[in-house]
Structures are given as C-alpha cells and as structure tokens.
C-alpha cells in the first residue's frame, strides 16, 4: 500500500537551502570579527538536560550573572567576556565532544564543567591534553583534586572529605555516635561514606549501613533495617531525587521520632522540592545566602534577586565564583595562557565581593581546591521567606576540614 508522501519537495530546494546554511556558517566568523576586538571566550559544559538539570541550570545562572557584571565593569584584561554554554546531557561522550568543540572550533580560553563528576574528570583529560585552563564549579568526586589532579584543573565546590569532616562533630555532639548510612553505590557515594567513617572512627563511633542502587526508588527495606539497628543518626547520602524520596519515606514511616537525620549535602534546590514535614536534619551547605553580618553578601543577594527573581543557592555561587576567578587570575597573570594563569591562581585569594563570606577564601596551591567556609546547620520548614530553610549554627574552615594536601593523594606536576 504505497501512499504518496510529502517527499515531493523538489531536490533543488533542499540543495539550495543546504547551500544557504553552509554559506551562513562560512560567513558568520567574519560577521563577528567585524564588530571589534576578540572577546575572552569561556566555554561552560553542564548537564542542562537529564536528572542533574536543576543544579546545572543554577550554575549557568550564576555564571551568566557574573558575565554581565564583569562586562559592565570593563571585562577581563580590557576585553569583553563571552560565555558559551553547551549541554553535556549527562553523557560523557557528549561532554567530551562539546569540550573539544569549544576548544577546537570556538577557540575558548577557559573551560568550566561539569556537575557530573565523571564527566568533569573526562573533560579534565581533554583540557589537560590541550593545555586549557579548567575550573570545575560543582563536580564533587574527590579524585579531581586528589589522585587525578592536573595542573590546569581547579575546583570551587568541596571534596567529600571536607563536607564529612565538617558535619561529623556537630552530629556527634548533638545526637551521638551510633550511625546508619544510606549510601548510593557509586564513586561519590563511596567516598562520602568513607569520609564519614573516617571522621566517626576518630571519635570512637559505630555504624552500619546499606549501599543502594543510584536510582533507587523504594527505601523500605533499608529503613526497616535502620529501625532495627536503633542508631542515633541516619545519614542520608543519596543525591538529587533519590535523596528526596529517602527523606519522604523516612518521614512517612515516622522514623524521626526514633532517630535524628543528617548528612553531608542537602542543596537548596532539593530542599525546596520537599513538603515542610520532610525539611529536617543537620547538613552542610557549601555556601548560604543568609549572612546578615556580611555586607557584601546582603548586597549581592538583593541584586541577584532583582536580576534573576530567585535567591542564589550554592550552585549559583559556584558559577559566579568561577567566572570572577578567571577575571582575578587573569588580572594577576596578565594573560589567559593556561600554564601562566594556573600558576597565578594558586593560593590566589578571592576578593570579599566574590568570596561572599567571612575569612579568606583561596585556591590551595597543593591541590587547586578552593578553601571556603563550610556552613553547618539545620534544615527546617521556611520561616517567613520561602528560601529561609536553613539556619547556620557554625562555620568550619575549609582547609581545616580538608586535612593536609598529602592526604588527598594529589601529586601536582607542572608543565615545563
């Protein structure tokens, strides 16, 4: 049964259209350079589609806000900044391909990415090969500034060692040292649990736990086991949506009456997705917007809210810091060339309107990890403002929580 289909578009039309598109491609570089000096190009690769999209979007928002801010104040090294954003789609092949595209075709000077730490590590291999300066705003696996550290890769967000070391004393002090872990079975989950166990053993604690599939939906079996173990604290190490489901089921089963809840990261985007009765526990925030005693933060938050209609989360701050780090580093190095920029970035202190927190915040020379404060506190239902879901109880210094560089396993080799 042959139907005459729509394929009666004359071949010539298709060829003409194709030629037009091709001509446009060849012509477009000429169009841009006719406008004046070449901008500083920064390529950002993040999973804008897929399960991590909410976090990735915040990072891009922060970076775009910084781009506008930097351009208003004269750009980087006197040249305008252009942020090129590509979607890694949470797939390594795509992330690597986009990185190559940004470097080979778009000739970017700097690369940012990825939220997915596996992709971040793969990108690091490419940027290292091409000697391009690379900042990882929010990919958490420890090896990026640990055993797989590279001279050209810097990271804004914390290692799991830092996050676990920061919250453990607080949880032990408040609730006790018998813990139960609910952990996703992959590299990040393992390093989280190992970090906690190390910190817990230092104070003589005991523990039990389960490794669950990354996308686990039903936590009943594990929670049944947890209830039987009678711990002081249940550590929810799951990430993203699975973290939400674990919290929900924990609350639905009424387990908060028997034990406390805590863990390392519980990001603002995730907290807001929960119902009030599930917004509980003690956690780390890698940056928090509500710092009334720091005037730069108050100013930043109100301006950011005015521009984007949302309150900045830690992820927005990561993107913001990454952009400004390039500016500050380039000012110091007077160039964007990979090796020189990397050298200038080591031990570079961020100015207060970029650091947006008390104390000194710098990229540690030994492993290129940013050393900010870690905000330890309690998550609770919103008080007044719908974003006021976290109350900071203490600030832990990053380099104290991180431990010495030797323990990270990073052996940094610089290019000749």
């Amino acid at each position: 049964m042959q139907r005459t289909t729509l394929s009666t578009i004359p071949r010539r039309t298709i060829l003409r259209a194709g030629a037009a598109i091709g001509a446009l491609q060849v012509a477009s570089p000429f169009i841009i350079s006719a406008r004046g000096e070449t901008p500083v190009k920064i390529g950002m690769v993040d999973p804008l589609t897929g399960v991590l999209s909410a976090l990735a979007q915040s990072e891009v928002d922060g970076a775009k806000y910084a781009e506008a801010e930097i351009n208003k104040k004269g750009g980087i090294l006197g040249r305008p900044v252009q942020l090129l954003v590509e979607d890694s789609a949470n797939d390594v092949g795509t992330g690597v391909q986009k990185t190559r595209k940004l470097i080979d075709r778009d000739k970017v000077d700097v690369i940012f990415g990825d939220v997915n730490s596996g992709i971040a590590a793969a990108m690091g291999q490419v940027t290292n090969e091409k000697k391009v300066f690379h900042i990882v705003p929010g990919g958490h696996t420890d090896t990026i500034t640990g055993t797989d550290c590279h001279w050209n890769v810097f990271r804004v967000c914390n290692t799991t060692t830092m996050d676990t070391a920061a919250i453990t004393p607080e949880l032990v002090k408040r609730y006790g040292k018998k813990w139960f872990f609910v952990t996703p079975d992959y590299a990040y989950g393992h390093s989280l649990q190992d970090g906690f166990i190390k910190a817990l053993k230092k104070v003589g604690g005991t523990y039990d736990g389960d490794y669950l599939p990354i996308n686990n939906q039903d936590f009943s079996a594990t929670l049944i086991k947890a209830k039987a173990y009678k711990p002081n604290v249940l550590l929810n190490n799951m990430g993203g949506l699975t973290q939400i489901n674990c919290m929900k089921q924990f609350i639905q089963f009424g387990m908060q009456k028997d034990m406390a809840l805590g863990g390392a990261l519980f990001e603002l985007e995730t907290v807001k997705a929960l119902q009030p009765d599930a917004q509980v526990g003690w956690w780390d925030m890698e940056w928090w917007w509500d710092q009334p005693k720091v005037p730069e933060v108050v100013k930043f938050v109100s301006e950011y809210r005015a521009a984007t209609k949302k309150t900045p989360s830690a992820r927005d701050w990561f993107g913001y810091v990454a952009m400004h780090s390039v500016r500050v580093g380039a000012d110091k190095a007077k160039t964007l060339e990979g090796p020189k920029l990397a050298k200038a970035m080591e031990d570079l202190e961020l100015p207060p309107d970029v650091a947006l927190q008390p104390g000194t915040v710098r990229y540690r020379a030994g492993d290129h990890e940013l050393m900010p404060n870690i905000f330890v506190g309690e998550v609770h239902p919103p008080k007044g403002n719908p974003d006021n879901v976290f109350t900071v109880s203490s600030l832990v210094k990053g380099d104290v929580a991180a431990g010495p560089v030797e323990q990270t396993g990073c052996k940094m080799t610089h290019p000749a």
Binding site: Q25, V92, A187
Partner: protein, 325 residues
Amino acid sequence: MTATVLAAGQRPAQKRWLSLVAIWLALLTAPLWLPLLGGYTALAGKVLVFGLAAMGFNLLLGFTGVLSFGHAAYFGLGAYGAGLTLRYLVHSTPLAMLVGTLLGGLAGTLFGLLIVRRRGVYFAMSTIAFGQIFYYIAYSWNDFTGGFDGLRGFHREPIGFGALTLDISGGTWFYYFTLAVFAVAVALMALLIASPFGRTLRAIRENERRARFLGIPVERHIWLSFSISCFFTALAGTLYALLNNFADPLALHYSLSGYFVIMAVMGGMRTFWGPLLGATVFVVLQDKISSLTVNWMSFVGLTFILVVLFFPRGLLGMLKRRGVA
C-alpha cells in the same frame, strides 16, 4: 570496492563508480572542509564511528529485515572491552580493539541463540532488555568498570608496525586511522552483502516463508546475521572508546540503540551507504541544535517522528526511487 545492491532500479555502473569516488573523496578531505562548515575533527571522527555502527546494525535491519533495538549493548561492550584492556592488561591499541570487538561480538552471538525464534516486537523487546543488563552491570560494578562515572585512565597508544610507529593521539591522525579501519570494515561488509550469503539474507527479508520453503535454514541465517552485525557494531565501539579516551555506561543504554535505528532509517535502510548518511545528518544536527537550544531533545524526537511519518524510505531511499523514475 563495489557494493552490489540488487534493486530493480540499479543505476548504471558509471554513476555508481562516480558516487563512490565522491564519497571517499569527501571522507578523505573531511578535516579540511568540515571546520569551514562549523564542524571540527572530533565530530568527523564521531560521524565515522556512529556510521560504522549504524551500517553494521543495518546488516540486520535493512538487509535481513530483523529489528534489534538493543545494539548499543554491543557497541558499549566494544568500548569497555577496549578501555579495560588498555587500562588493566596491556598498552596496545590493536589488542584493545580485538578484545573489544570479540567481547561485543561474542555476547551478541550467544544472545542470538536465545532469541532467534522470536520475531517482530517480541524480538525487539528482548534485545532491549538484554542490552540493559550490560548497562546495569557497567554502572554498578564500580571497582572494575568505574561504575556510574565511567571508565577512565586509558588513552590511545601508538601503534607499532615494525620499525614505524603510528602516533594516533593527535586528532587528525586518529581521524585517518578511524577512516582506515572504517574502510576495511565497509569493504568486508560489501563483500558479505554481495556474496550468496548476503543474497540469502535479502531473500529472507523479502519473504521469510518462501525462503523457508526453499529449504533455507532461516533461523541459522538470522542468527549469523545478528552475530556479524554485533561484531561490526562492537568494532565501532572500540573506536568510540579510543576517540574519547573514555568509556561510559550511556554507550550501552537503549537510547543509543534508538539512535542507531534512526540513523539507518533516516539514511535509507534498504541502501548500503544510507546509514552513513543518516549518521552524518544525525550527529551534525544534534551537535548544532544542542548548542543552540536546551530543547534539543524535542528536535531529535521530532526528527524521529517526521522521518517515520513522511520519509520512511530515508534520504538515500528517496533519491534512489527518484532515479528509477
């Protein structure tokens, strides 16, 4: 290298030679003209790799008439096989490629035995589910395969030919290496299709019952076709691992299988070069559109729908039909 496609409207020999020369010329000079069109060498490499995978897959779909929706499993097994060899066993690119190809091919051969009696959607469902097994293994077995984060820590090793060493770590050299492997594979495929075995496959595609009445062992042929297509797809997978210096679980996921199917259909599944054309269009389009908009998934999905509804014979299929009239 002639691909003898037995179609009623077979174009005159001269025209076929010309088009073959044109195709190979374009492929050989790709690193030169692709950047002008907004492409880059790694993209050309990806086109070849996916093209090879789609052409291998099309052996089963277009030439035997059997639909597998889980071919990414063998592609991914090829990638992991190559990566694991380079990382844990020995720093040898040829050996890595051999191991990867064997791993994917043998998995397909064994699985083929299980499902060879099924047909249609049931066959397809089984292939999907089987493929997902490897996806779950890859992302659960953290210590061995790197789990969710993928397999790292290996890269393309220089290949030694006696006194000469070919360093394929550079982008352009690797493209030509991929092209060489592609050429050999495609030649083998063409020989296969032109052979009596290939003609039997087409007979099965056209009318399975009649083939059976003619005494052809249909199940055995389908199984062989399935196995061979898995070997070719796995070979493409090894190249993919070398292209990225990385292997990740998504290379095993059924969504990639779906991409191979659309490439074959979009290019023209009844033609030999169709899948390569489909792969080119798909890879380049996806690259371009995902840079322009976050909603690229809608465009990809729309492409699937439009091809199915309005261009079922694919690009080359349409051109061929036009040529006949």
